[in-house]
Every structure is written in C-alpha cells, then in structure tokens.
Amino acid sequence: MTDSKIIDQLKKNQMLELLKEGKRIDGRNFDEVRELSIDIDVIPKAEGSARARLGDTEVVAGVKVQPERPFPDTGDQGMLICTAEILPIAHSSVETGPPQPPVVELARVTDRGIRESKMLDMKQLVLEKNKSVIGVFCDNAVTDHDGNLFDACSYATTAAINSCKIPKYEMQDDAPVKIENEFNAPPISTLPVSVTMAKIGDYIIVDPNLDEWSIMDARITITTNSDGNVVALQKGGHDGFTQEELIKCAEISVKAGSKIREIIKQSSSGED
C-alpha cells in the first residue's frame, strides 16, 4: 500500500454506524480492552525485559541497569529513564530519522507514568551518596503498530521493570564494581498501568485500534497505580472532553487498569 494512513470512506462510515448501535468494528464493547498477553524475560541478557501484545500491537521493552553518576540535585537517588521508539518495521508510515513529535510524546508519557507513580523507590538505588547510584533504563521498541501505543508501552515497561534484576555492586576505590551472579529484586512500591480512551463524536471507547485511532476526535491516557489513584494524565487530539466525560474516563481507567494489573502480576509470577 502506498499510503495506508488514510482510512477508506466505506470503513469510516461503517464504524460510525456501528458506534450508533453501541458496537465497534472488531466486535468489542466500548469499555473492552483487546486481548493482552505479556511475556517476560524475552531478552535474557538484559537485566529485565517484557513483550506486550495488545491485539495486533506489539512492544518489546528492555531494562538495562548500570551504575551512573547521580544528577547534581538528587545525589541521594538512583536514576530512572524510560524511552520509546516506533521501529520502522512496525508500520509502513514510520520514517527513520530523529523522533517526530508523536514519538517524543509517546516516550515522555511512558516515562512520566512510571516516574510519577513512584513505582521504584529511587532512594534504595544508591551506591554512594552524591558519587555513584544505580541507573535503571527501560527502552521500548514498538515492533507492530495497530493503535494505542501508549498503553502497550506502559504495560511492557511496568512488566519489564517489575520482573527485572538489580545487580549487586560494591564500591572499590571509589568505583562501583559488579558482583557477578548476585542480584537484588527491584524496590517496587506500586504497579502503574495506563488506560487510553478515544472520543469519536460523543462516544468514548477504550483501547482504540489503529482504525479507531485514525478517526478519533480526541483521546485521553490515564495512568493509575495499585491503590487506584491517578498518577498521570495526557489528553491529545484536536477536540475536547466535557467534565462529565473526564470523570467517567477516570472511573473506566481504574476499573480496566486493575484487570490489566492482574495480567502483569501473573506474567511475573510464572518465573522463579
């Protein structure tokens, strides 16, 4: 296909007609998330990894842990950086080169979801205050794009960090040295999970696929933590939400989020 971003009129009309009847093009209910499967440890050489399949969207997240110099103003905390990249294999419209605004947004929203939820207790990732800390990097690579990359990256990242191993280090002559084959579990305090909803006309649907993504008027991504509290928000798209809609979205997010949290927990419990 030369340009598959433009949705054909027949399909668009079909989708709008179905919405009026309370249906979606793939048969889901408005508040239904696609089939989600998460496999951890898919990149054994990394310190943590997970592959999330949300319908036909697929993301691989890899966690690398290595000693770093702390940021000047937070010498008593470890470092956490999450990124995301849409690989050119994921869709015909993906261009190589410096990240475009949608990809930058995806990366930053993914990062904020983890950071603001305080998933990792950064104070426990210090080797020597102000000198050497543990840096945790989670990089997401989108390998197949069928819409809603925000949630796929959120689930892959949470699962990867939740199941990662933090190597043990000891300070020798002011430098951190890795102790081979000795690891700690990561200091996890909560499992953040995002839920993205699209607004098409007056209808709100959860986990839009690529077809729905291409006709939506607005979207909102709401990240909640294990306590059911809202920890991150991102609204996008060219239209707006009413107050009532936003409250409803938060309720949906807490409910759908807790189900997904169980799937993430189960993906780790299968391991040692």
Binding site: A46, V63, Q66, L87, I89, A90, D139, T143, D146
Partner: protein, 245 residues
C-alpha cells in the same frame, strides 16, 4: 577486535570451545518467516544468543522523489541495535558502526535482488537487533534474505551469512561474542549458495594467506548450513499445509 586477556578458556585440550562447540560447529540457528502483521515480509532469527527481527516494506514509493531511480527500484537497508541489546546500554541514535553495517549488508543483498522491474520504487529492509552476542551482521543478513523472499521480492538467490575466525591459534566457525573479544580474527561472510558467490566479506584481525583460505572454506560451509535453515523457514510458512504434487 580481541586479543584481550581473559579467564575464559577459548579452546580446551579436547578441542571444545567455551560454549561447548567443536571448532567447525555453528551455534543453533532458528528462523521463523512472516512474524509481523504490518510489514510486507518479515523474519525473526535466533543465531546462538543473537535475536534479530527483520521487516521488509516494498516495493513502494520513494520520498523524497529525487532519491528514486527511473530505471530500477532501489534497495535500502537499516541495521539498528536496540538500546537493551548489548551489555552496556546503547544510545538509540544510529552509530557509525550501524551505518557501516547497514551499507555492507545492502551490498551483500544487492546482487541477489532483482529490482529492474520496479523503477521509481524502493525496497526497505529494516533489521532490528534485540539481543546481540557476536556475529549480528551475518545473522541480520540471513534474516533479511528470508524477509525479502517472504515479501515476494524477486531474487536470484538467497544470501546466507556466517562468520569464520581464529581463536587460540585455531580456525573456528561462527565466532560468538566472547571469542570475538578475546580471539585473534573474525571474518564475516555472506554467500549466495546456488550462484556460489560471496557478497559480504570483512576481516578484523590477522591471518596468514593459508589461514585466510581456510577461513573462507569453513565459512562457506557454515553459510551452506545456515541456508538449509532459511529454506526450512520458508517451506514451513508456505508449503506446510499442502502436499508436494
């Protein structure tokens, strides 16, 4: 390139290598064709501990137009390593090494692909290294050939990749990461098995003319073994359900 001091025994007194292999044995290779939903063709390859995902799009429009060729389709290749694919996290931006390998792989595939019937278009090959353990360029090239066939791009032959090398003064087949770091030579090869032509060849290290000859011989043999796995991957996807008539 290697020669570093190491505690690892590259070759023991029984001729067994650090990962249990014999000197003329390749690592375990497995390939699955057609693994991605959106790409026109795709392949996932595990070559030892290497894990590489390849996607092909095309023939398709070239943007900007001035890059296209009015007489033939063009081949573009991108070899890229995920930040989590290597020991120390890699910056996502393309490195010079990736740029060079992309070019070398493109030139290894170019003699095989037939793009004259698609003027003004491009065939894009994207190779993503998800986990690296030495010999990624040969593994990526191997996966790329399968992905191109899966996409229906006409080819005169597949191209199979495998490296030969030297470690502990011995010529070995299929150099892994440890052997690359601590060994004496690494010679990656790309080979078209039916046309019997070498289309990728590089060397890191020092070889006598005789060692060079042996490396090429043993490397071609390795490529032929890898070719059988490529064939199997395509047969499994396309020919498994129906019988050979």
């Amino acid at each position: 390139m290697g020669g570093r001091d190491t505690d690892i025994v590259l070759l023991d007194e029984n001729g067994i290598r650090s990962d249990g292999r014999k000197i003329n044995e390749t690592r375990k290779v497995s390939i699955k064709a057609g693994v991605l939903k959106n790409a026109n063709g795709s392949a996932y390859i595990e070559f030892g501990e290497n894990k590489i995902l390849v996607g092909v799009y095309g023939p398709r429009d070239v943007h900007p137009k001035h890059l296209s060729d009015t007489d033939t389709g063009i081949l573009r290749c991108r070899y890229h390593m995920a930040p989590f694919s290597v020991g120390e996290r890699k910056n996502p931006a393309p490195s010079r090494r990736e740029v060079e390998i992309s070019k070398v792989i493109k030139e290894a595939l170019q003699p095989a692909v037939m793009l004259k019937q698609f003027p003004r278009t491009a065939v894009d090959v994207f190779m993503e290294v998800l986990q690296a353990d030495g010999g990624t360029r040969c593994a990526a090239l191997t996966g790329a050939s399968v992905a191109l066939a899966d996409a229906g791009i006409p080819m005169r032959d597949l191209v199979a990749g495998c490296a030969a090398g030297k470690a502990a003064d011995t010529i070995i087949l299929d150099v892994n990461n440890e052997e690359d770091q601590a060994g004496q030579a690494d010679l990656p090869i790309g080979y078209m098995p039916n046309l019997e032509k070498i289309t990728l060849l590089q060397l890191d290290g020092i070889l006598t003319p005789d060692e060079y000859k042996k490396c090429i011989e043993i490397g071609i043999d390795g490529c032929k073994q890898v070719y059988e796995i490529q064939k199997k991957a395509l047969q499994e996807k396309y020919f498994a359900k129906s019988d050979d008539e």
